[in-house]
Every structure is written in C-alpha cells, then in structure tokens.
C-alpha cells in the first residue's frame, strides 16, 4: 500500500519534471522559461522526495532526503534570480 502511494507520488513528480522540460523548450523567452524551471524544482523534486522518503528504509534517510530537497529549493531559487537579473542587465547593455 505504501509502495503504491510512493509510486504515485514519484510518477506525479516526474510529470512535473516533464512539464518543466517542455516549458523550457516551448516558452518564448528566458524569463518564462525560468518559471517553468522552478515548477520542476519545487513540485517535481518535492513529490519525488516524498515518494522516495516513503520507500526509504529508515527515518534518518527520509530526513536526509527532505534536507536535500530544501537545499535544492534554496539553491535553485537563488540561481533563477541570478540568471534573470543577469539577463536583464545584459539586455540593457545591448
């Protein structure tokens, strides 16, 4: 039963990754593409983390998984901001 829930979570998570990928490909400019990217980071990885935490052997592993997700959240939020800001500045210079 737990396995089933975990798989559903993981599959949904990967679905969000697909959304992020397709958004990265199809959206018209950098800033909208960054929006697509952050969906993959937050929801995609979050659901995958939740699913794998359910399948993990121990509480310690589950906590480690959660911490990795939080780290990716913080890092990718900052990174997306940096990229967007950099693109803005270079756009002004052209």
């Amino acid at each position: 039963m737990i396995d089933f829930i975990a798989i559903v979570l993981i599959v949904t998570g990967i679905g969000f990754f697909a959304v992020g990928s397709i958004g990265l490909l199809r959206l018209p400019d950098l800033h909208s593409r960054l929006h697509a990217l952050t969906k993959a980071d937050n929801l995609g990885l979050g659901l995958v983390t939740l699913g794998t935490a359910l399948l993990a052997g121990s509480l310690a592993t589950a906590i480690k998984l959660l911490l990795i997700w939080l780290l990716v959240l913080a890092a990718s939020a900052a990174s997306a901001n940096l990229i967007a800001r950099h693109a803005l500045e270079r756009g002004d210079e052209r």
């Binding site: 399948l55 990174s79 940096l82």
Partner: protein, 95 residues
C-alpha cells in the same frame, strides 16, 4: 552496496520505469542547452539537468539501497548553485 528486495519486485520495476522516463525528460531539456540562444538559456537547461540529476540519484539510491548516492545528490545540488553563480558573474562591464 547490496541490492535490496526492491530491485526485483514490482515496485522496483516501477521505479526503473520512472528513472527511464526522467532520463527522457532530461534529454528534452538538453535540447534547450544545445539551442540557446543565450548563455542564460543554456544555464537554465543545466540547472534543470542538475535538479533532474538529483531526482535521478534519489530514485537510484532508494532502488539499490545505496545511501552513498544521496551524498552524490547533495554534492550535485551544491555544485549546481556554484556553477550558476560562476556563470552569472560573467559581467563584462560592471567589473
């Protein structure tokens, strides 16, 4: 690293399919890295690859009961941020 009972079970196969699907998704994202047109677009694709890579490693870690892969995922997340910082500090005029 030993295989847990997970690898050969139905759950294991399901996870393997998920890993495969994830890899296909990442391949799609890589097209953006190939096309650009700007460095920022390629960096966005690299970040997607980084986050997807973390998911890839998490799934493998659970599939094979290999906690070492969690360390790899941690390092990947950290270094992806460093690469993003390095790429965006490419300012040519400000400094």
């Amino acid at each position: 690293m030993n295989d847990s009972g997970l690898v050969n079970s139905l759950t294991g196969s399901a996870i393997t399919i998920c890993v495969l699907a994830l890899l296909v998704t990442l391949m799609l994202g890589l097209v953006r890295a190939l096309q650009g047109p700007s460095l920022e677009d390629r960096l966005a694709a690299v970040l997607l690859l980084g986050t997807g890579g973390v998911a890839f490693l998490l799934l493998l870690a659970v599939l094979w009961s290999a906690p070492a892969l969690l360390d790899v995922a941690l390092l990947l997340a950290l270094l992806a941020a460093v690469v993003a910082a390095a790429m965006t500090r490419q300012e040519s005029r400000r400094d």
